[in-house]
Structure formats: structure tokens, C-alpha cells
Amino acid sequence: MKVGRVVGTVVSTVNIPLLDEHRLLLCDLHDVDGEPDGYTICIDVVDAGMGDTVLILDEGSSARQILGIETGAIRAVIVGVVDELHVDGELREVE
């Protein structure tokens, strides 16, 4: 899993049917030092909000398990909103 931050939303009307039921959030990814490390567009199942630091699952089989489906082209799912992040014994600032 990865730690990221919700920085945007993506709206589409033409998409694969699976995505009709879910909203898509654009999340910055951060490395262990809190530096930017790309981004990913995720399905959200925990009602994360703009600016939230989140836990992102980026693996297809587990993503399908969470959504309760056997097939589907989905990988990235927001599975948690982070309250605290500790690295090397230090508390990282989380918004």
C-alpha cells in the first residue's frame, strides 16, 4: 500500500461500467520522506475528502476483493484516511 494525499477529482461519463458506481479521486503519492512521487487516480470506498492524507491500495486482486467483484479493471483504491504517520520515530505532519 501507499500513502498519498487527495488533491483532485476526475469526472467522466464515458467509462467502463464498473466505474459508474464510484467516484474517482486524484491523489499525489509521497515517498517515505514525504516527497512527491507521482500520482494515481483511485476509487474511493471510505469517503475521503479533498486534502486528506490517505492509504492507497494499488493491487488488482485485493481491489476486486474490497469491491466484492470477481472481474474488473481496477487497481488503485483508497482504503483508509490516515490520522498519524510515524517514520523513524518521528511524527510526520498529516492534514
Binding site: V6, V10, V11, S12, M50
Partner: protein, 92 residues
């Protein structure tokens, strides 16, 4: 999933079994500000409607094939949606 711009198409008559009728488009992956990021790739068009110049999002690796009618096919990128709008907020 990542953002990309459709920049071309690929026509191939001889294909692996299971890929009949699948459209292949050349896409340029983009960063979140819609600037080109990395090399172009060929992606299967799972929405059947993406066209040249359109902003799309795509899924990579094993999950790309999940977007197609025949699931067990050798495809590693698939367009899964056409973007209407991207809203960026906070200090992105």
C-alpha cells in the same frame, strides 16, 4: 490509473487470439497538470469511443486485460474512461 492524451492509433490485422475487434490507440501519459510524462504507449480502448486528442485515463499491468471482453489476453494498458473534467484543489 493515470491520465493520458490519445495521440494516434495502431492497426493490426494479425493478432493474438482474443484480441479480435479490440482497438489500439497510442497514448501519451500525462502528469496531473496534463503535461506529458514519460514515453507513449499503446493501449487497448476498453470504452470503444476514445478518439484522437481526447483526454482519457488508463489502467496498467494485469488489470488492463480485465477491461476487455476476453479477460485473459496479452494487454498491459487499457483506456478505462474518457475524462470530462479534472478538478485540482488544495495546494496541488
Amino acid at each position: 490509473m493515470q491520465l493520458a492524451r490519445v495521440v494516434g492509433s495502431v492497426v493490426a490485422t494479425e493478432k493474438v487470439e482474443g484480441l479480435e475487434g479490440v482497438r489500439f490507440l497510442v497514448i501519451q501519459p500525462l502528469d496531473k497538470n496534463q503535461e506529458p510524462a514519460g514515453r507513449t504507449v499503446v493501449a487497448a480502448d476498453a470504452v470503444h469511443m476514445a478518439g484522437s486528442g481526447e483526454l482519457v485515463y488508463f489502467v496498467s499491468s494485469r488489470e488492463a486485460a480485465e477491461a476487455l471482453p476476453v479477460r485473459f489476453v496479452p494487454v498491459d494498458h487499457a483506456i478505462t474512461g474518457i475524462v470530462d473534467e479534472v478538478h485540482l484543489g488544495v495546494d496541488s
